[in-house]
Structures are given as C-alpha cells and as structure tokens.
C-alpha cells in the first residue's frame, strides 16, 4: 500500500492486518483512499458494462439505449460550446461564457436543469452517509432523515403564511436540519451509550419515519391538507417559502438556488472534516476508536455528533426538495422516494470525499433523470425497464465498491508488471 492517498488529508495509518479489525468501515475506508481515482471510475464503468449486458440479454440495443439515456440527462448541453454571455449576480454586468445559459428553454438545457435538480438532494444524502462513514459508522438511515427533513420543512413552509421571504426559507431549512440531526442523533446516542449497532437502529428509524410520514399526511392525519380529505397530501407551502429559481422557468421546475447550497455543503463538509477539531476527532475515531480514546478524544461525543451532523445533511436535502420544487409532500412521495438509499451508493462511489460525492451525485442524478418516463423514447427502451436498470446499475456499483479490494489487487499487479517500475525497485540492491 505505497500509493499516496488521493484525498489530501488522512494521517498515516496501516491497514489492520488480521482477524479483528477495529471496524469494517475503517478498513474499507483505507482501501478506498488507497485506490484513488482509478477504482471509482473502473467501478462505474464495470457497472454500466454489466447493465448493458442485461439490456442486451433482454433484446434491446445497449448502445442506443445508453445514448438515449445520455441525451435525456441534458449533459449534452455542455457540447454546445459557443460564444455567449452570462449575467453576474447582484449587478447588470454581463461577461463572456462558453455556454448559452440565456436559452433556458431548449430541451438540453431543460434536461440539465432536471439532472441538477435531482443531484442536489443526492449530494446531501451522500454527505450524510459519507460523514458518518468517516467516523467509522454506516448510516443507512439517510432515507429516514431525508423524510424527517422534508416533513418538518413542509410543515414550517405551509405554516406562518406571510412571513418574511428569506426568513421563512431559513427557518424551514434550519428547523428541518435540526429535526434530522435529532432523528439521526437517536442512533448516535444509542451507539455511544449502549453500543447498539447503528445499522440496525438507523434501519428501524427509517421505517419509523416512513410510517410517521404515512400517518401524518395520510387520510385523517394531523398534517393532511385542509382542502380535500380524500387526497393524502400536505398543504402547499407558502409562496414566501419557495426557493428562488435562477435558471429556467419557475413554473416548469427550473433549477433553484438549493443547487448552490449543495455546493456550499460540499465545501462545508471538506472544511469540517479537514480543518476543524471536530473533524479531526471524527476521523480519528473512524480510523481507530481505541487509539482515539487513548489520545483523549471522547469517542462517544464523536459518535453522537457525527451521526447528528449526518442527519442534518440528509434533512437539508429533504428540505431543499420541498422548498425548491415539490412544494408539498404526499404519502406517495414518501413511499416512492429512494433518494436517501441512493445516497449510500453516492457516498461509497465518491469515496466519502467532498469532490467524489459531488461527482457521483451528478452521475446518479443524471442516471435517474435520463431514465425517467419523461425522457426516454419507449421505442428505444421502455422507461419502466430503465428505472429498474438504474436500480441494477446502482446495485452493481455497490457490489463492485465492496469488492474494490479485488480491483485494487488487479491494479497493483498491473503496475508491478510495468518494466520501468520493477527496474527502479531492484536498482538500489
């Protein structure tokens, strides 16, 4: 394991070599960093390859299918390079820009807006998994935390109509984050005090949140809408609680400013982990809780805080979805949402680093959007099939991420075979 870690910061650590590693998560985190950028890319490619085999096996052309999906993602918007201009924020000035942002209505631009719209919450649920992972915990509860955030924000957003615009948004997001932190904090607290395994507690909390949501917005539930008793959906949030749309048409699900919040969250994640005492402690506990304890770090406090912060991230994702484009929350949304679970794949493929999470959120956002019923031509590939193809690719990514020890060994063999390298190694002797 001589390669320099790709993510800049981790202190030197040796992989636990035998039977009882301090935690599987920590061991895996090590391999992941050692693998650098190569394994994630190979992982994703391999997953798409196997997905393509399935498509071919069921009698469709994988190449045209993938091309169609790609066109649906809107990423082809970036191919249309030209000479355009872009307005600077808070001023009337315009500067040169290679892409045409003024044309927000073209198909590619619209698709790209939708892709980024889906990628936004994925960044947050990805960070929720990643942050806990860096503390040596596996947060499967992103889905429940996301639902809690969505529920609280829709409640705040639809109450106090007529509140100051900015204040209403901030209040909804902050309260949602707080609720999500408390929700995940239950798992962190139980881990810290009685040692209950966070995987079990977060799975249970997911389902409790799921049923509370079904109850609250279902027929006769306390948060069901005031206008139609037969529709299990919440009230719409107030106009003043909606996030401003900065690209595209606000009435057609344009891209809202939550996208920038997601980018800011990635920066905050990196800063917290790498430039604060809390982040140092969290990472130390993640590497080796025993050593951290000897170093005077309160392992219990780290467990609780890491879990609470993770829950806060996921809940902000839920809040931004509500305030940005959903505007209401129905039982059907709670039942069909997978954003929190996809966050697991996002975090693991992104190697729990800020940049990695951002990129893999974009990948999965594009995949989800490209395979949606709106985008796919049924002649080429049925969208109902494509949705399941997305699930399969996601599963394969997770499988190969889990098996990246294999990819790593393969990669190292490959490097060792290179003549220049072996000669250099033998030279000193």
């Amino acid at each position: 394991m001589s390669e320099s870690p790709a993510s800049a910061t981790p202190p030197p650590v040796t992989p636990p070599s035998n039977g009882g590693p301090p935690s599987v998560a920590a061991r895996m985190a090590f391999y992941q960093r050692a693998g650098g950028i190569v394994t994630p890319i190979m992982t994703a490619l391999l997953a798409f390859l196997v997905g393509g085999v399935v498509v071919a096996a069921s009698g469709h052309n994988p190449l045209t299918t993938y091309r169609e999906i790609f066109n649906g993602t809107g990423l082809n918007w970036f191919f249309q390079v030209g000479s355009h201009d872009i307005g600077l924020p808070f001023s009337d000035a315009r500067v040169w820009f290679p892409w045409n942002v003024n044309d927000a209505q073209s198909e590619a631009a619209f698709n790209l807006q939708q892709t980024l719209l889906v990628a936004t919450p994925l960044v947050f649920t990805g960070l929720a998994v990643a942050f806990a992972f860096r503390c040596g915990m596996f947060n499967i509860g992103g889905q429940g935390q996301y639902i809690v955030g969505a529920m609280v924000s829709v409640w705040v957003g639809s109450s106090w109509v007529g509140m100051n615009h900015g204040l209403h948004i901030v209040l909804a997001v902050v309260l949602a984050a707080f609720a999500g932190a408390l929700w995940a904090g239950i798992a962190g607290f139980l881990k810290a005090t009685v040692g209950a395994h966070e995987v079990i507690t977060t799975i249970m909390l997911n389902w409790i949140a799921y049923w509370i949501g079904n109850y609250a917005f279902g027929q006769g539930g306390p948060l069901q809408n005031d206008f139609n008793e037969s529709v299990p959906v919440s009230n719409d949030i107030a106009e003043g609680a909606k996030l401003p749309v900065f690209w595209g048409d606000a009435l057609l699900q344009g891209l809202h400013v939550g996208f920038f919040v997601a980018i800011a969250a990635l920066v905050v994640y990196w800063l917290t982990l790498n430039r604060t005492t809390l982040g140092y402690e969290v990472r130390a506990v993640g590497f080796n809780p025993e050593a951290a304890r000897y170093g005077g770090i309160s392992v219990r406090r780290s467990y609780f805080l890491a879990m609470a912060i993770a829950g806060g991230f996921a809940a902000i994702g839920g809040a931004l979805d509500i305030l940005g484009w959903q505007f209401r929350l129905g039982v059907i949304d709670i039942q069909s949402s997978q954003i929190g679970f996809i966050g697991i794949a996002v975090a693991l493929l992104g190697r729990n680093t800020a940049v990695g999470v951002g990129l893999s959120a974009l990948l999965f956002g594009a995949l989800l959007n490209g395979t949606s019923t709106r985008n796919l031509d049924p002649e080429v590939f049925q969208p109902e099939l494509a949705g399941n193809l997305t699930l399969m690719i996601q599963a394969l990514v997770l499988l190969f991420v889990g098996a990246d020890v294999l990819i790593l060994i393969f990669w190292q063999r490959l490097r060792r075979l290179r003549p220049g390298r072996s000669a250099a190694r033998e030279a000193p002797s």
């Binding site: 069921s58 395994h197 389902w207 279902g218 006769g220 599963a395 889990g402």
Partner: protein, 406 residues
C-alpha cells in the same frame, strides 16, 4: 450466548422464584385486558385495573430481586394492560365485536407471521455464523418473483417454490462470495443485493408481464384443510376458524421452527455455526472450515428467505407486483434481533409483529390514521430492544467481521 447464572432446583422453589412471579404478573395483566374484550366483554374497569396493578407489582418485586429483563417486561405489560383495557371500555361493544374476532385475528396473524418466520430463521443461520444479512428483503423479493414466474411457466407450485429457493440461493451465493472471499463490507453488499433484487425483479416483471401484471390462475401452494370442525362444542369451530384451512407453508414454518432449533442448539452442525460466529479463529484452530460453514449458512438463509417470499406471491396472494415485499425483510430482520437471534425468540417476535399487522388491518374501524401509525410498532419495539431498556439483545460476537485465514 447467554449463560444461565445457576441451575435452579425444581418444584416449589422454582415457583416463588422472582422470574416465575414476574411471568405470572404478565399473565395476570393479559387476563385483565382479555376479559373486557369479546367474547367475555365485561363492562367494568375493576378487572383490568386490579390485575394490571398486580402485574406491575409483581414486576417491580422481580426487578428488586435482580430479575430485570422479565421484571421490567411485566411492569410494561401491566401498564399496557390497564391502559388498553380502559381504552376498550371507552369503545362501543359493536365496534369491539367487529375488531376483536379472535379466530380471524389469530388466523390472520399466522398468515402475516409466516413469511417473517421463514426470513427471520434464515437470517438467524447467516448471522449466527457471523455474516450480517440485511439482504433478507432482496432475497424475499426475488423468491416472490421467481417463484411466481416458475409456477406460471411450469404450471406447478412445486417448481415455483424450488425456483424461488434457487433464486434466493443465488443471491445468497453472491452475498457469500463478496463478503466471505472478497471480505467486502457485509452491509454494503447487503444493501447492494437489496437494490439488485429490486432492479432485477422489477426489470423482468416489466419485461415478461408488461403493464398487465401477473395473470390469473397461477398454481398456488395449496391450503391444508383439516376437519377440525368435527370436534364438538364451540372449541371445534374456533380451532377450525384458526387452523382449519391454513396454507401448507404455514405448517412448514412450524416444522422449520422446531428443526432449526434442534439443528442450531442440539447438533454438532449448530455448534459449529455458533462457534464460527462467536470466535472464528478458535473454530478454525479446531479444524472447522470457517469459510465453508459461513457459505452454507448464508445460502441456507437465502433459501429460507426466498421461501418466505414465495409464500407471499404463490401462497398468499397469487400475484406479484413490483417491490411487493415492501419492507417485510426488514421486519424479519427486526424479529430476528428482537428475538435475540434464537429460533423461538424470532418466531415469537414474528407472531407479535404478525399480530400487530393483523390488528392494524382491522383498526381502521376506529381510526384509519391510527392504524397507519400502528404499523411502526415492530420497528419501535426493536429499537427499544436493541437500546436495552428491557433486557438487551446481544448479537453474535464476530458478526460483521470478515475472517482472514492464517
């Protein structure tokens, strides 16, 4: 696992032992609640409150003597019995008669509990051998789909069940290969398998059946009709309503329960599985193949979970829809943990969760939204169980840890 502190002499001493008193308190509380329900339907608060009070007292006494787990259980049950008893008195007799039909509730409990039992006992094999299996959900789902697919194509439920088991075994094999040989994180792999099953079953479901759904008339696992109504008096009728026409799989789940208990705790095979799950290095030292035992255990768990799934599709409903397990695999996981990784514990938990599902189905008589919230009960109970408020569930020592041969 848990070691009995000391052997208690039999006879009289055993009866006044705090543990027995606490259990007696539990029974009293239940009786207090039972008498205000149909068919007795006593309309008085005296019985539930008095008996519940005795239950709480017995519990507190037991706790003071150091029997905490059962003691607290009796306290909680006593308070619950009182509260629920008083709630039942608030309700009208007519509604009570509609909701509390014991024979229907019990039969429905068994129907809901069976898939959970299969999956939970399957999970027990895997987890006792040290491999976390949160992929029970995916294995159930694949069993449900491939079971109905094969049953329809071959026109025989036997092939359906076998195909379901094969599908579960295949997923389990993937799980085993990645988590045992490649030493991948078992939870990541479990999550991956859940997604994989969701994707694969959804994909082929759409591909094979389109938007029409599964056709009618797919052969189903038969019901076992017992002539219990031949037994005279009302008892025969009651037994007939509960056990008279249960599905074959329900009876098989009872058999499975006994067999798995015997295998796990009374045979060398079970000893090996538990040894590998508790201390793999020691097991390896005495010549047990850790990888072999783990492989076998994980595959058994896949087969059983898939059989539970097949019961859902070709036993219970006779149809399939996307993601039809809808979290039952996780309830099974909860039952396994709630039952402290033991067959009878897991089965009791499955019955409890099955009963809560059966009751939830009837609660809309009072309030639809309350019935919805009621469905969270299994998860809340499990959360409490792992939190250790009422006696903690302690997992096998080496669970989740890949083993590296030396």
């Amino acid at each position: 696992m848990s070691i009995r502190a000391e052997r208690v002499p039999g006879g009289w001493v055993r009866i006044v032992e705090p543990r027995s008193i606490a259990i007696g308190g539990m029974v009293l509380s239940l009786v207090g609640f039972f008498v205000v329900l149909p068919p007795l339907t006593l309309r008085t608060w005296v019985w539930p409150v008095t008996l519940g009070f005795f239950g709480v007292a017995a519990g507190i006494w037991a706790v003071s003597r150091g029997v905490r787990r059962v003691g607290w259980g009796a306290v909680v049950l006593g308070i619950l019995g009182m509260t629920l008893g008083l709630l039942a008195l608030e309700s009208s007799v007519g509604k009570l008669d509609v909701v509390v039909v014991w024979s229907a509730l019990l039969a429905s409990m068994l129907r809901y509990a069976t898939p959970l039992t299969f999956a939970a006992i399957g999970g027990m094999f895997s987890e006792r051998s040290g491999v976390v299996n949160i992929a029970l959900e995916g294995m159930m789902l694949s069993g449900a789909f491939f079971g109905i697919l094969a049953a329809q194509k071959s026109d025989s439920w036997v092939f359906g069940l076998l195909a379901a088991m094969a599908a579960g075994a295949t997923l389990a094999l993937i799980h085993a290969f990645f988590s045992i040989n490649l030493r991948a994180d078992q939870i990541v792999i479990g999550t991956a398998i859940n997604f994989l099953a969701l994707g694969v079953t959804g994909y082929f479901f759409v591909d094979v059946y389109g938007d029409q759904g599964t056709p009618e008339g797919i052969p189903r696992i038969p019901d076992v009709n017992l002539p219990l109504d031949k037994i005279p008096t009302g008892l025969g009728e009651f037994l007939d309503d509960v056990f008279g026409s249960l599905n074959l799989m329900i009876w098989l789940s009872f058999v499975l329960l006994v067999v798995s208990y015997v295998v796990m705790f009374k045979t060398p095979i079970g000893l090996r599985i538990r040894a590998v799950g508790e201390h793999p290095r020691a097991a390896d030292t005495v010549g047990i193949s850790v990888y072999g035992v783990r492989y076998a255990s994980v595959i058994v768990s896949g087969i059983l979970a898939a059989a539970g799934g097949a019961y859902l599709s070709i036993g219970f409903l006779g149809s399939f829809n996307e993601n039809m397990t809808a979290g039952r695999g996780f309830i099974a996981l909860a039952a396994l943990i709630f039952g402290a990784w033991r067959p009878f514990g897991a089965f009791s938990a499955a019955l409890l969760f099955g009963f809560s599902s059966a009751l939830a189905q009837r609660l809309p008589e009072y309030s639809g939204s309350a019935a919805t919230l009621f469905q969270a009960l299994p998860y809340v109970l499990t959360l409490i169980a792992v939190a250790g408020v009422i006696g903690r569930s302690i997992p096998p020592a080496a669970i989740g840890r890949p083993y590296i041969k030396q």
